[in-house]
């Protein structure tokens, strides 16, 4: 059995920068791309309806319709190209869902690439709402649709940068474990790997499902309460874990 999380790693693509620092790119899956697409389509349709209203108010019916037809085409092809170039591979929808189009070497995509991946979209779209493109990307190692294959681009998932609040959450104003003897015990008995595990748990707590979060915190908290002989019945297990982590990482000592 493969542990969870291994699958994502296998798909990652490693890029070596000229500074010899390897950078990982995680190809984005269909779900987030679909949501980003819906967002973008909504924005385009909204813009288009406003533009159409204006055009219909200004021009005679036939000419107005001609402009609307043209505007709709230009928007659907031009909108992604504009944002992919001007905003480093992120259309508003992609930005909202933490996605970015990059070139196969991890660099920003160029005009030609953006143009090509967006004109092959007409084929990806067939026979019905990205049937072909979606199917192809399921079989591609980097989850690329046909347009990405022709333009040598891929859509990567960028983990949202840690929000500062996530770190500040460690710094509880009052730390029940901050007595010299407790601190000594904590630092002696908790080794490096455990520290990292605790830190990760705290950092990720916000992203866990509430019940999973509760169970985990209970389990970990109870374990350390016994092991470190912590006598603090008023302290909830989650707060115990947070205080413990903060103590280990010297947070809040000034």
């Amino acid at each position: 059995m493969t542990p969870p999380g291994d699958r994502r790693r296998r798909r990652d693509r490693l890029i070596l920068t000229p500074e010899h620092v390897p950078i990982r790119l995680s190809p984005a899956g269909l779900g987030s791309r679909f949501l980003a697409l819906l967002t973008d389509v909504t924005i385009v349709l909204g813009t288009l309806s406003i533009v159409s209203l204006a055009l219909r108010a200004i021009f005679s019916p036939g000419v107005a319709e001609a402009f609307v037809t043209t505007a709709s085409f230009v928007l659907f092809v031009g909108y992604p190209i504009f944002f992919e170039l001007r905003h480093q591979g992120r259309t508003p929808g992609k930005r909202a869902f933490g996605l970015r189009v990059v070139d196969g070497r991890g660099l920003p995509i160029r005009l030609e690439q953006s143009f090509l991946r967006n004109i092959v979209r007409t084929l990806d779209f067939l026979p019905l709402f990205y049937g072909l493109g979606g199917l192809v990307s399921l079989f591609d190692r980097d989850r690329r649709r046909l347009g990405d294959i022709v333009a040598d681009t891929l859509v990567v998932h960028e983990r949202l940068p840690l929000r500062p609040q996530g770190e500040i959450r460690l710094e509880r104003r009052f730390n029940a474990l901050r007595t010299p003897s407790a601190l000594r015990r904590i630092r002696q008995r908790v080794d490096l790997e455990e520290r990292e595990l605790l830190l990760t748990l705290c950092m990720r707590a916000d992203r866990l499902e509430p019940s999973a979060r509760y169970d985990l915190m209970e389990e970990v908290g109870t374990y350390y309460r016994q092991r470190l002989e912590i006598d603090a019945p008023h302290l909830s297990n989650e707060n115990l874990v947070r205080d413990l982590t903060a103590a280990l990482y010297n947070v809040g000592e000034g």
Binding site: G62, V63, I119, V120, L123, V150
Partner: protein, 334 residues
């Protein structure tokens, strides 16, 4: 080194790089200024080395993930390719030099695509000449509600279908957006399957040849050429060009030679994109002609004039793309 101290000492610069990048990604180089650029470069180098050190110090996924994302963003920003020159000058150079150059460099792909279309047309002509009933199998039955001659007589008797600017503009816009989408499909098919693109061109040729021959057999070929010619002179080559651009991309994809597939693609891309921009422009012009001038019957414009216009447009298109021009000073070797 202790990981806590490592993070403590560096987290300010990580945050700073995040801020600088956020600003840099949504502004121009001028707005960022040399100071901002220098700061970005300095921070990027520091964070890159932090990432390398962090990898040897810790396995903390959150920290590594964050540094990785940050260094990746910096790398993308710094090693992006830049654009240069004034807009108008670049546009002139693009249309005057780069687009025709791309077509000349890819003359063999253009010839292949054109040959597929023409062979298809020849096949269509011969099939209908040999057996006039074959037309009914080759052409969609919806076109067979009346004979070509009846159709021509009806069109010539009626009022002009397109009589106002409104009609012409609307019809033209619908035609060119539709045709450009078709050209995108032809391009994509050729790029991803090579043979599929050639096949599409061939079958379209067959259809065209078959329709033309039914008009010829009914003795109304002058009408046919005057009716299809003015826009067809640009539209048919454009569809072949889209297929040709697809063949160029497809060749890089399937037969990259000594290069990696990505490198071959990247090398072909400037030409492919220039060819496709050309196709889009030609199709807009063709669509506007098809929506107006092509629709006029003999009452408004004599057929000889329409056929002459068709011939001139076709020759002008080919001359623009394939007749070498003297390169202007300063552009030599382009």
């Amino acid at each position: 080194m202790d990981i806590d101290r490592f993070v403590d000492e560096r987290k300010d610069r990580w945050r700073r790089l995040e801020e600088v990048l956020e600003r840099a990604e949504s502004s121009t180089e001028q707005e960022l200024g040399p100071e901002g650029m220098r700061e970005l470069l300095r921070l990027y180098r520091l964070v890159s080395s932090d990432l390398n050190q962090a990898r040897s110090l810790t396995a903390d996924p959150e920290l590594l993930e964050r540094l990785n994302a940050l260094a990746g963003r910096g790398y993308r920003f710094i090693y992006r390719s830049r654009r240069e020159g004034g807009t108008l000058g670049r546009l002139r150079r693009f249309l005057g030099v780069e687009v025709p150059d791309a077509y000349r460099q890819e003359a063999w792909s253009v010839a292949t695509a054109a040959a597929a279309l023409l062979l298809g047309a020849l096949f269509g002509v011969l099939a209908v000449l040999a057996n006039p009933t074959a037309a009914e199998e080759l052409i969609d039955p919806m076109f067979f509600t009346q004979s070509p001659r009846e159709r021509v007589e009806e069109i010539e008797k009626q009022e002009e279908r397109i009589s106002t600017l409104d009609d012409a503009a609307l019809f033209g816009a619908q035609l060119y957006t539709h045709n450009i989408k078709v050209s995108f499909l032809a391009f994509s098919l050729a790029a991803l399957t090579l043979a599929g693109g050639v096949w599409i061109l061939f079958t379209n040729g067959v259809l065209l040849g078959a329709v033309a021959t039914t008009y010829l057999l009914d003795g109304v070929s002058v009408f046919f050429f005057a009716w299809v010619g003015p826009h067809g002179a640009l539209e048919l080559p454009s569809i072949a060009f889209a297929g040709a651009a697809g063949l160029v991309a497809g060749r890089a994809l399937f037969f990259p030679g000594d290069l990696s597939r990505a490198a071959a693609l990247r090398r072909a891309m400037p030409r492919v994109w220039r060819m496709m921009v050309g196709v889009m422009l030609f199709l807009v012009v063709a669509g506007l002609i098809e929506g107006s001038f092509s629709q006029f019957s003999a009452k408004t414009v004599p057929y000889s004039l329409k056929i002459a216009v068709a011939a001139i447009l076709h020759v002008a298109l080919l001359a623009y793309l394939f007749v070498p021009r003297q390169s202007q000073p300063g552009e030599a070797g382009a």
